[in-house]
Symmetry: C2
Subunit: 217 residues, 2 copies
């Protein structure tokens, strides 16, 4: 009987260890839903250079906006957590705050790659132009007749950010939108595969010029 007990204990121990390990890992995994429109808040504190004095913002910021958390600030925090890589696959990308966050990551040495729809290659001065010309970030454009309508980002090949939100000030401040932030290996893998397919398909070495796009949505 004593041996049987030992055997039972030996048989269940690996399961218990896996359960404990899974439980710990699960608690750490990030899962968040952001709903928009976002309150308009000051996000300068998130965007300050690493060397800036910690006390400079937000207490002394003269902008007059609230300095609390908002859906936009949470989205920016999720992006700014990147240390190694950031893939962006966005139908539209013109939000100045999100553009600055991406630029900051590039300056910090994060490998940033951006795909947008070719209908949204902005004019000089737009976020897209700014990213390419000022910051030197790699940007490619989906030129298929259909829209590249994704709105997702992958942070450090670990966290997926996806939802209905186009990264524009109009959408952030006015629309009802949702964004999921999920630390999920399986989803990350599938969305990265989709990113790589588009990234390779619109390698500038392969294409010639921008075709006319359909106007229906």
């Amino acid at each position: 009987m004593g041996r049987l007990r030992w055997r039972v204990a030996a048989a269940v121990l690996p399961w218990v260890l896996r359960w404990l390990r899974y439980g710990r890992r699960r608690r750490r995994l990030r899962r968040e839903v952001l709903f928009f429109p976002s309150q308009v808040t000051c996000t300068e504190a998130l965007l300050r250079a690493p060397g800036a004095a910690p006390s400079a913002l937000p207490d002394s910021c003269p902008c007059g906006l609230p300095h609390g958390e908002s859906s936009l600030s949470r989205l920016m925090r999720a992006l700014l957590a990147a240390r190694v890589s950031l893939e962006l696959c966005l139908f539209a990308f013109s939000s100045p705050q999100l553009g600055r966050a991406v630029q900051l990551l590039h300056q910090r040495g994060v490998r940033v790659r951006v795909v947008t729809d070719c209908d949204y290659i902005g004019p000089p001065g737009s976020t897209r132009s700014h990213l390419v010309l000022s910051a030197g970030i790699q940007v490619r454009h989906d030129q298929d007749l259909g829209y590249m309508h994704h709105k997702f980002a992958v942070v450090d090949r670990r966290v997926l950010i996806t939802g209905s939100l186009n990264w524009t000030t109009q959408a952030i401040q006015n629309n009802r939108e949702n964004v999921l932030i999920m630390e999920d290996d399986e989803y990350v893998r599938l969305f990265l595969e989709e990113f790589e397919r588009i990234w390779e398909e619109f390698n500038p070495r392969k294409y010639t010029f921008f075709p006319q796009k359909k106007k229906s949505h």
Copy 2:
């Protein structure tokens, strides 16, 4: 020493049982990612009336389209699994197949509620008009100045379907899009709360008429 072993076994047993239960539950939970554009396939077999002969479709279907699985058919299957309730919160909803699926659910006694953006109240003959006039489904319209840009559904208060896809033929057949299908209590709760907020806000007893919408996106 014998007692100690028993105590250890008694202490780990609840954990093992929880782990086993959790494992089983986890295997059952639905998690799927659909990418679009979807192959154009025949979906008539999914939409046939419950009393129709099982052999009538798809083998004898004369449409000439492939009858295999596609992203659209998987999305329809996820919807048609509804037995009790279906909440739809959609910026645009004009796909005939998805419209028929929703109508079928209503005919089967599923409680269907639809919110769309008021810019997408279609003309007579559109999916929206069809849903309201022919099928008697409850449809409400977000009339805020910003867009109601969500694209989500909740099936039986158990499964969340959400992503970038507007429910239009153009988007389904031509655009690069993603849709997540997730059996996830926490996400379902948050998205249902968002649905109920919008549903109550645009209760027709409360509002007067449709205001002018902004044109920017």
